[in-house]
């Protein structure tokens, strides 16, 4: 299935690509980012058996990436409860496997990859579920939350229009091809560069750029040039 990142070259391939990368690309010798340093520190604490301190420090790591992770998960899943669970699962999985983390990878890339795989699994599970069960009222809670947020503003009409616009955008993004959607979500809502997306997905950087362009072109066509 094209939407599954695991059908593209895997983590090891991407790591090889990184090892053979030209000078312009991120190399293991590049200075560690703040989150990567923190991850290495937590790993050291865990290796030393100091789990309580490791948990405390991991809270800082969660705070760094939580907002962006929820944005990505929400755009993937379009369901607040499921996105919440996906983000929690990703953080728990990261903590459980932090001893296997290597600095050759930026922590953000490693974490986002785990998050995306979890989201893709959930999408697949939901598709299977929808095949056999009648879907419930879609995202009733999200609608309620958004409705509550929309009534807080001064102009209800503008809020209503904004809601409709967001719904149209979400439908258009949902109609994208699996890889296009992944690349677009990561670049656009995750604020990652094509190079970082290339590392996360294992796709070639030029392929990422092509997917991104095609996704944007398709969205413009679907939305009539105006979101």
């Amino acid at each position: 299935m094209s939407s599954d990142l695991r059908t593209v070259p895997g983590l090891e391939n991407a790591r090889d690509q990184q090892a053979d990368a030209p000078a312009g690309r991120r190399t293991p010798a590049a200075p560690l980012t703040e989150d990567s340093k923190l991850a290495v520190e937590i790993r050291g604490l865990m290796d030393a058996g100091n789990m309580d301190d490791a948990r405390d420090r991991f809270g800082d790591l969660v705070a760094m990436h939580q907002r962006r992770a929820t944005r990505i998960a929400y755009q993937y899943l379009r369901d607040a409860a499921e996105a919440d669970e996906a983000v929690q699962d990703a953080f728990v999985k990261v903590f459980s496997h932090l001893t296997s983390y290597r600095e050759a990878w930026p922590f953000e890339v490693w974490f986002t990859r785990i998050l995306i795989n979890g989201c893709l699994d959930r999408r697949k599970a939901r598709m299977r579920r929808d095949r056999w069960f009648v879907p419930a009222e879609t995202m009733a809670m999200d609608e309620a939350v958004l409705g509550a947020a929309s009534t807080a503003g001064p102009d209800p009409e503008r809020r209503l229009l904004a809601r409709e616009r967001r719904a149209r955008i979400a439908q258009a993004i949902d109609r994208l091809d699996g890889r296009q959607r992944t690349v677009f979500t990561l670049c656009h809502y995750g604020d990652y560069t094509p190079r970082e997306v290339s590392m996360m997905t294992g796709l070639n950087e030029s392929t990422v750029r092509v997917h991104l362009f095609r996704a944007a072109r398709k969205l413009r066509g679907l939305l009539g040039g105006q979101p």
């Binding site: 929820t70 656009h188 105006q226």
Partner: protein, 217 residues
């Protein structure tokens, strides 16, 4: 007419991505964008479209995931990782009750074998008995015939009070013997068909029997 010299959409998009990612855009494209009004306008439209998409998506997600909700999420993560890295708690296995359960299961299995053995014994016994009787029936010397003494009085007496019969050895199956056997069996049938209750005999004498009706027909 000049459209052919304008930047294609993909190059325009490359410029947008490069600008967003902090990369250096293609110098030729950047130069063209600076000079061409049409391409500059297209670039602005593209940028506005993409920026609006991003802003809408992020605003929507932020409206759902408020700061309070993110705090709750972080607490949930803390709770979940609290048990990571700690050895699992081993619950003691309920030994006594298990032994009792196993014993009771064993006890339940035994009667099944007993029942099976009993059934097999009955079957084998019946088979042996049948074959034994059949073998005896084939040998002419071993055949014995039972004849009740005073068979004429059998009608008046209850079968339970019939006198014991004695086995009389016979020399073969002559016509006289066959007739005597038939008579004996007939008397036996009549005696068994009659009511055995003393008080009902009068009714029995008045009521026609099935055999008599059958004979009339």
């Amino acid at each position: 007419m000049f459209r052919a010299h304008h930047l294609h959409d993909d190059r325009l998009f490359e410029c947008y991505v490069a600008e967003r990612s902090g990369e250096t855009p293609d110098p030729h494209a950047a130069e063209h964008l600076a000079d061409c009004v049409d391409c500059s306008r297209r670039y602005v439209e593209l940028s506005r479209f993409m920026d609006t998409l991003r802003a809408e998506g992020q605003a929507e997600a932020d409206a759902v995931f408020t700061t309070d909700r993110l705090c709750a999420q972080q607490q949930a993560i803390d709770r979940r990782i609290e048990h990571v890295g700690r050895p699992a708690r081993v619950i003691s296995f309920p030994g006594a009750s298990t032994a009792r359960t196993i014993a009771s299961k064993t006890a339940r299995v035994a009667p099944r074998w007993v029942a099976a053995a009993a059934a097999a014994g009955i079957f084998v016994g019946a088979a042996l008995g049948t074959s034994y009787e059949w073998t005896r029936g084939l040998s002419p010397r071993s055949f014995t015939r039972t004849r009740p003494i005073g068979s004429t009085t059998a009608r008046n007496s209850s079968p339970r009070t019939t006198r014991p019969v004695e086995a009389v050895p016979t020399g073969g199956s002559s016509p006289a013997d066959v007739a005597a056997d038939e008579a004996f069996l007939s008397d036996l049938e009549v005696a068994l068909d009659r009511p055995r209750t003393e008080e009902l005999r009068a009714y029995d004498a008045l009521t026609p029997h099935f055999k008599e009706i059958k004979d009339v027909r």
